[in-house]
């Protein structure tokens, strides 16, 4: 097999990179072990939520306060802007319009009633929580507690009251997940039966917060339709994984990649590379019965950090990059991996591959190690996507940078 570019990883960075390269006419193969942080995140685009633990108001201005070696410093503000601009255009065209901009962060309401600082959210999560707020759960949905959410919102000075909306009869009476509920809400008939109960639960409120389950397969249409049926603005609160807004985004990427003719191998992870001097000539990946080699001009690793499975944390404190065996700074022993507090900072989350300004992996002296390998997203050293709130921002900005680098010359 053969491709211009092999992209490994189907999280926020790999999906954006593959899409952008294909849009520029490159023949792309996307290899992925499984789903990534589209499914595991809050369904938002975090660019820079916190620095030194303090919430960031203006993310672009705060980039300067990040430590040396941070991916944003390597690629610059222009790539961040380019990444978000492209993403906004792409999602709007896919029926997943986002709200927000790079100038100012906003608060995304969560199931805990916290307002997490982020940059862009999908339209259903964008409404303002002003006036009387009803926090409504759907009866029997176990992954959201309106009492818990409302309690914290009240502490933040928001006039929030918990409420419950009954579900119409359906075939998941005994057991259902958020995804099943979201699929049901994709159906217009189900929405019509759901709306009266939801309207009663939200009666008298200026806005209703609901768990982020308002449809998964039809963009934002189910949300908009339900909102007009209920007659009250609906705001989706981020819930635990899988993120249904993230599933919407993943579906949009998948449709776009298929439209662009990108080959896609899902569930067949890359397991190694073939090299000739300082160039990778082929990527080896698991196939149904044997290991396959795909020859390529360029390789983009978007495999994630330790959380994303791009890096293995070993018992002896060392770290291993899983596809190309790139060097990753390890720890003296494994006690160094993690902080003493769970909700504090975790050094392991910031572990990654060090790269140069063109996102090529470097050796200890700072020289590029492989001329045609680029690293994007969570795999990069020098940032903690969770603690900083920078996951999607770094993904989109590094994808933008790689797209610019690899499409500087016309496609062959």
């Amino acid at each position: 097999m053969r491709a211009d570019v092999v992209v490994v990883g189907a999280g926020p960075a790999g999906l954006a990179t593959a899409t952008r390269l294909a849009e520029a006419g490159r023949q792309v193969l996307l290899l992925a072990r499984g789903n990534g942080f589209t499914h595991w995140g809050a369904g938002s685009v975090d660019v820079l939520g916190r620095v030194g633990g303090e919430p960031v108001e203006r993310p672009l201005e705060a980039l300067d306060r990040l430590p040396e070696g941070h991916p944003y410093h390597l690629i610059g503000q222009a790539a961040v802007r380019d990444g978000l601009d492209w993403f906004s255009r792409f999602t709007a065209a896919a029926g997943l319009a986002h709200r927000g901009d790079l100038e100012r962060n906003r608060g995304q309401v969560t199931a805990f009633g916290t307002l997490r600082p982020t940059c862009l959210v999908q339209e259903p999560a964008a409404g303002e929580l002003s006036g009387r707020v009803a926090v409504v759960n759907f009866a029997g949905f176990r992954d959201f507690s309106s009492a818990l959410c409302a309690q914290r919102l009240r502490r933040a000075g928001i006039d929030a009251t918990p409420a419950s909306a009954p579900l119409p009869a359906w075939d998941h009476d005994r057991y259902f997940t958020g995804v099943e509920l979201a699929r049901a809400i994709d159906d217009a008939g189900f929405r019509r039966r759901l709306a009266p109960g939801l309207a009663r639960a939200a009666a008298g409120a200026d806005v209703a917060v609901v768990p982020a389950v308002l449809g998964v397969g039809r963009g934002h249409e189910p949300w908009a339709d339900l909102q007009s049926l209920v007659g009250t603005p609906l705001v989706e609160a981020a819930i635990a994984p899988p993120s249904i807004p993230g599933l919407r985004l993943f579906a949009a990427y998948r449709a776009r990649l298929e439209q662009l003719g990108v080959r896609w191998q899902f569930g067949f992870p890359a397991v190694g590379v073939e090299r000739d001097g300082d160039r990778v000539t082929a990527v080896r990946s698991e196939g149904a019965s044997r290991v396959l080699a795909t020859r390529c001009q360029e390789l983009v690793l978007a495999t994630g950090g330790v959380a994303g499975n791009g890096i293995e944390a070993n018992r002896d404190g060392t770290l291993t990059e899983r596809v190309a065996g790139l060097p990753v700074d390890g720890f003296g022993d494994r006690l160094g991996f993690l902080g003493t507090r769970f909700l504090g900072d975790q050094p392991l989350a910031a572990a990654g591959v060090r790269v140069d300004g063109e996102l090529r992996p470097m050796d200890a002296s700072g020289a590029p190690l492989l001329a045609n390998v680029r690293c994007v997203g969570g795999l990069l050293a020098g940032h903690d996507p969770t603690v900083e709130g920078s996951r999607e921002g770094v993904a989109l900005a590094t994808a933008a940078r790689v797209a610019a680098l690899l499409t500087a010359t016309p496609a062959r």
Partner: protein
């Protein structure tokens, strides 16, 4: 403000020994009150591997302990079957082990009255398919698994039905003495924030590894040796029954399947304080490597957490200096009743020291026999024959929680998929007055599974918020998460590292929790563990 209580006997210590003493007294019609500084089973009784000993482990070197074990193993199966998994055990001889030891082992078991059966290696592999292929000899013994919290709950319920009292979160703060007699025990009610005085005729010190502290308050010298044991919790059971190495007891020679996990044990190291429950990563590595010799799949398995417990070892003459660092396996695992009247001139206090969970009932019988004689109580001990509440359904089956969920068709009610905990169970626990997730954990086994509370803890916090407007379930959740975190740090690599970072991404990333409500000290000090 101080309130006053009166009783005949104060029992100090809410581990299995103390509660067994209280039950023994209750069954003889003696009024008694037990005081415990934290919750029941938060000392050594909650920090162990869960092995119901057959005694085979001691058959070569400590036959007195071995005989006690097999006797009590039989008794506990009769009175508390519901707390026991009847899974049996194997002793396996590996290539480097000494065959002569196997001969001593068989003879020791015979002499101690422990039934053994030699299995062919094929039969051993049929019974334990994951056993190492190079096992040379295998002996079946009547080991079992026992859930100490279930045993404690069952005994406590029995005792309270008989009019005795259990006061948890009541640390002892002083002892009032008049001449050679204790007249009262002073405790601090940590929930109400007030001191209480309990006037009493007798005191039984059953504080286990902390018995020396109680002795000090009463003014009698009592030196305990703190024997730390490190245990490792694997994410699945691996074995059907207990698997032991057939060799002189050493580190990493036992695998105990318990509920949905397996516990690897254990080290044996003398430390200077019973509160030293640190877990060095090297101990974890050694345990995994040693146990993987018996069950190779463990080498690449997923480790959930590790914890340490302090054995309550007692040696009549403490070793010179009483220092730390030695191997404590040389100290007998049998127990000793100390009558402080003859020993120290303190008229009305006994201590029960040493021993092990399997023999807790026998220990209680021994100390209460002596006490009853002094008190003039003639009722005989009935704890070996009176079965405990809940015993009527036979042994605990590992699949029982699944059967319960299937019977009730309660899939949609599950709030913890790892341990099959339902909303109904949590609701019931909350209705009984539990408000801390930590207490819920021990009661319903919340947060024990492979995901280490990634999903169940916030669901339970939501239920607490629904139950009451008071309190701050988010702060309680943060305390719970920090508490769970403590047992994980030495065991995080591979898959479990990924799990830890995903959990971090959920709680800190999505929910934006920052632990503001948890002071650093709370994250640093805790008495509680369990597997």
């Amino acid at each position: 403000m101080t309130t006053t209580l009166e009783t005949d006997v104060v029992v100090v210590g809410g581990g299995v020994t103390g509660v067994a003493v209280l039950r023994d007294l209750a069954l003889r019609g003696v009024h008694a009150i037990l005081v415990e500084r934290f919750d029941l089973g938060t000392g050594t009784s909650g920090r162990w591997h869960g092995l119901l000993h057959s005694g085979a482990r001691y058959a070569v070197r400590d036959q007195e302990s071995a005989r006690e074990c097999i006797e009590e193993n039989t008794t506990l199966r009769r009175i508390a079957p519901h707390t026991i998994e009847d899974i049996g055990g194997l002793f396996v001889l590996l290539p480097p082990d000494d065959e002569a030891y196997a001969a001593q082992f068989v003879e020791g078991c015979r002499a101690s009255g422990i039934p053994t059966e030699e299995l062919s290696t094929a039969a051993a592999h049929r019974r334990e398919p994951l056993l190492a292929p190079d096992v040379r000899l295998a002996f079946a013994v009547p080991d079992g698994g026992i859930d100490s919290w279930a045993l404690l709950r069952s005994m406590a319920a029995d005792v309270e039905a008989r009019g005795c009292q259990v006061l948890v979160r009541h640390p002892i703060v002083g002892v009032e003495r008049t001449g050679d007699r204790i007249t009262a025990v002073r405790v601090h009610d940590a929930v109400a924030g007030q001191d209480r005085t309990i006037g009493c005729q007798w005191v039984v010190n059953a504080a286990g590894a902390w018995a020396g502290d109680v002795g000090r308050m009463a003014g009698v010298p009592l030196t305990m040796i703190a024997g730390k044991g490190v245990m490792v919790v694997m994410a699945s059971r691996y074995v059907r029954g207990v698997v032991n190495a057939c060799r002189k007891p050493a580190d990493g020679d036992i695998i105990v399947p318990q509920h949905e996990v397996a516990i690897l044990g254990t080290t044996s190291e003398q430390v200077s304080s019973a509160d030293d429950i640190s877990v060095p990563p090297a101990d974890v590595d050694r345990m995994i490597d040693m146990c993987a010799q018996m069950v190779p799949a463990i080498a690449s398995g997923r480790v959930l957490r590790a914890f340490a417990g302090s054995r309550p070892l007692y040696k009549p003459e403490a070793p010179a200096g009483g220092g730390a660092g030695g191997d404590t396996r040389e100290v007998s695992r049998t127990f000793t009743v100390l009558d402080h009247a003859s020993r120290d001139g303190l008229d009305n206090m006994f201590s029960i020291v040493g021993g092990k969970l399997t023999t807790c009932r026998q220990m209680a019988e021994a100390v209460v026999d002596r006490l009853a004689e002094r008190m003039g109580v003639t009722e005989p001990c009935r704890t070996a024959t009176e079965v405990l509440p809940g015993a009527d359904h036979g042994h605990h089956q590992v699949a029982a929680p699944l059967a319960r969920v299937e019977r009730d068709q309660a899939y949609g009610e599950l709030i913890c998929e790892c341990e099959l905990v339902t909303r109904g169970q949590v609701r019931e626990a909350v209705a009984s007055g539990l408000t801390e997730l930590e207490d819920l954990r021990r009661k319903v086994r919340l947060g024990y599974g492979p995901c280490q509370a990634a999903f169940c803890a916030w669901r339970a916090a939501g239920m607490l918020a629904e139950g009451s407007e008071e309190g701050d379930p988010v702060a309680g959740l943060e305390r719970f998460l920090e508490e769970r975190w403590r047992g994980q740090q030495s065991t995080i690599w591979g898959d479990q590292a990924r799990q830890a970072l995903l959990n971090h991404a959920i709680y800190r990333g999505i929910f934006d929790l920052r632990g503001d409500g948890v002071p650093d000290e709370a994250a640093a000090v805790s008495p509680e563990e369990g597997a």
